[in-house]
């Protein structure tokens, strides 16, 4: 079975480009050129240079001794939290902004949930001197205030999405509408492996640097490129796509995708799409999505703004249906406990999103000689107010 996109833009039955005709020229332009541009030597040279000297890659693969001791296995953390701007998101925005420049686009738009993709987009736009507009749900603007401040500091215009659930889904709707209204000069940097083909494949390729480095680093540290498990959180699924990418065709490597269960998978307040979702169309892609019997998209819930999305990238829908990846979920509470555990055992404060991946460590039942790589996709600075409140560190 192939886990890569086919020439028509599908992963199994998922994917495609279900877009209104207004978007066709833009998406078609991208589809025709993305692979060619990405393979050009001068593109690769500029990308590699920026990933190394600007982003700070390769990120360390850190053996976590106290976490390993606690779970009686070998736990490694892929430190995407150490990237410039604090998460894996910049791997993709650097790549896409270079593409946008080669396509002659002057105006960049993006959607953001937790604000990490918005910050990463605003950052590369500042670097390249491009106009930047970021759509963000009104609720997320409130709960991720530090990232809103960073985007503004970087010169981006942050536009509140006030429709629907006022979160990531609605921010994405608004960004797509902006693109429909500005078809000539605008490039839309999608932040996850979602949206119409070629976005899921393109974003996965830009994030694939994560697993490319993992292989080399594991070979050096463990004498094998292949871990027993790779664990990553999944909202849309870009960090998971990057962490899984170079292991998709290595069946002995167990891929574990962790979704946000919110207040419990069946509580009515959850974002566990693989369990709660059905085959459908969201944001131009056929995938699993949370919806009513009538096909109206439902409003998900997670304490983590980055995982608060009713769909999942088509690659992940395919990995789920084909059983190539194991899907787990972690509740708000489990994620918060995992935050505190990592902080106190290893001195690393993770992002709420990444903590969902940490939260399933005990469920893996990993053996002492197993190698578990957890993709630590982002750092927790943006979530400090949530942490202070939850753990009562804000009390005098």
């Amino acid at each position: 079975m192939s886990y890569h996109v086919n020439e028509k833009g599908f992963y199994g039955k998922f994917g495609g480009a279900y877009i209104p005709e207004m978007l066709y020229p833009n998406v078609e332009e991208l589809r025709q050129h993305y692979l060619r541009i990405m393979q050009e030597p001068d593109f690769q040279e500029e990308l590699q240079h920026l990933l190394k000297d600007y982003v700070g890659r390769p990120t360390p693969l850190y053996f976590a001794p106290r976490l390993s001791q606690k779970y009686n296995t070998k736990v490694y953390l892929k430190r995407e939290d150490l990237n410039h701007t604090g998460a894996h998101k910049i791997n993709n925005t650097i790549g896409q902004v270079l593409l946008a420049k080669r396509l002659g686009k002057k105006r960049i738009i993006a959607e953001t949930g937790a604000g990490q993709h918005g910050v990463a987009t605003a950052t590369v736009c500042a670097l390249m001197g491009l106009e930047c507009i970021v759509y963000m749900g009104e609720i997320d603007i409130e709960r991720q205030a530090p990232n809103v401040a960073r985007m503004k500091m970087l010169g981006a215009q942050v536009v509140a999405a006030t429709s629907g659930s006022k979160t990531l889904k609605d921010a994405t709707n608004e960004a797509i509408r902006d693109w429909i209204n500005n078809p000539e000069n605008t490039y839309y940097i999608i932040g996850s492996v979602v949206g119409p083909h070629p976005y899921p494949d393109m974003v996965a390729r830009f994030q694939a640097v994560i697993s490319e480095e993992m292989r080399a680093q594991l070979l050096e540290k463990e004498g094998t490129e292949l871990p027993t498990y790779v664990v990553a959180c999944v909202g849309g699924g870009s960090n998971a796509a990057g962490a899984f990418y170079h292991y998709l065709d290595e069946p002995e490597v167990q891929l574990v995708a962790v979704e946000a269960a919110g207040k419990g998978v069946h509580s009515g307040e959850s974002a566990a799409t693989s369990i709660l979702g059905r085959d459908g169309i969201i944001h131009g892609s056929r995938t699993l999505l949370m919806q009513t019997d009538d096909g109206q998209i439902t409003e998900p819930y997670s304490i983590s703004a980055g995982l608060d999305y009713p769909g999942v990238g088509p690659l992940h829908a395919h990995l789920f249906e084909s059983k190539r990846a194991r899907f787990e979920s972690a509740t708000d509470e489990e994620a918060l406990q995992a935050v505190l555990e990592l902080t106190r055992l290893e001195g690393i404060i993770p992002a709420l999103e990444s903590a969902h991946a940490l939260a399933v460590l005990d469920r893996l039942k990993a053996k002492p000689d197993d190698i578990v790589v957890i993709n630590l996709s982002g750092r927790g600075d943006k979530d400090l107010s949530t942490y202070l409140k939850h753990f009562h560190f804000d009390e005098k």
Binding site: P20, M22, N173, R278, D294, G295
Partner: protein
């Protein structure tokens, strides 16, 4: 089998007025009243909107009407129930317009079958791309004698317009300018060039211009370049005026036609 859309364009090749409304708005059971009043006011073709939670191609007016309609309880089964006897009351061509996901969940074949059964003539699904339609659904639509209407925009290349024309049977929906629905900037100079370019292509399907048509001036301008024009957001706004539904509809349509 006769299709009312084809008969309409054969009888009236110019100056045709098509109106869109969102089913279930302002009230759940207004569908029949709106259709009959539109016909009485002299409208030629009606697009019945099936509300969707995430209407990507629509601006704020149609988004808001969709939210209200869904809150009112509108669903595809409900809409078919409301349209069950419509053909005993009117022969005006009716087109259903909506997004693919709710139709997919209802079942595309079941949807086509039911639409044909209640007397629907055409379907517009902006997010069903042409090649997907041709590969998966075209046979179904033809089996049930439903016209599939596609959109073209000022950015659509000539070869693609020809391809769309080849797979369309009814009319081609010419989006006036690159935008979501409900922008009222008028028809730009660039749009005129695009209308003329399409008119010059001698397509087999007639063209009808939509998006941004909101008053008599824009309606007349659009009709100069195509077989007719479509009004959506401006009509949905008119339905929200004070006064009875019938009065609002007839005074709005009169303001366009007279």
């Amino acid at each position: 089998m006769k299709n009312r859309i084809k008969s309409l364009f054969a009888q009236k090749p110019k100056g045709l007025l098509s109106v869109y409304f969102t089913a279930g708005f302002p009230n759940l059971n207004d569908t029949e009243t709106i259709i009959l009043e539109l016909e009485k006011s002299g409208v030629d073709l009606i697009e019945v909107g099936m509300p969707f939670s995430d209407p990507l191609a629509d601006g704020p007016t149609i988004q808001a009407s969709s939210t209200v309609a869904l809150k009112n309880g509108m669903t595809i089964p409900k809409l078919f129930e409301q349209l069950q006897d419509i053909r005993q009351k009117t022969q005006i061509p009716l087109v259903l317009m909506g997004y693919l996901n709710p139709v997919m969940q209802y079942g595309v074949e079941r949807f086509c079958q039911k639409a044909a059964e209640v007397g629907i003539d055409g379907i517009i699904l902006p997010d069903l791309p042409l090649h997907q339609y041709v590969e998966e659904y075209k046979e179904l639509f033809e089996k049930y004698n439903l016209s599939k209407v596609f959109l073209v925009t000022p950015q659509t290349p000539e070869a693609r317009i020809r391809e769309i024309d080849c797979h369309s049977n009814g009319f081609i929906y010419m989006v006036s300018s690159a935008s979501t629905t409900g922008k009222t900037v008028g028809l730009a100079e660039q749009s005129q060039a695009y209308f003329q370019r399409v008119a010059g292509m001698q397509l087999q399907n007639p063209g009808v211009i939509g998006f941004g048509i909101h008053d008599k001036e824009t309606f007349v301008a659009a009709c100069n370049h195509a077989s007719g024009a479509i009004i959506g957001s401006a009509f949905v706004k008119a339905l929200q005026q004070e006064g009875s539904l019938q009065e609002n509809i007839s005074s709005f349509i009169q303001s366009i036609k007279n």
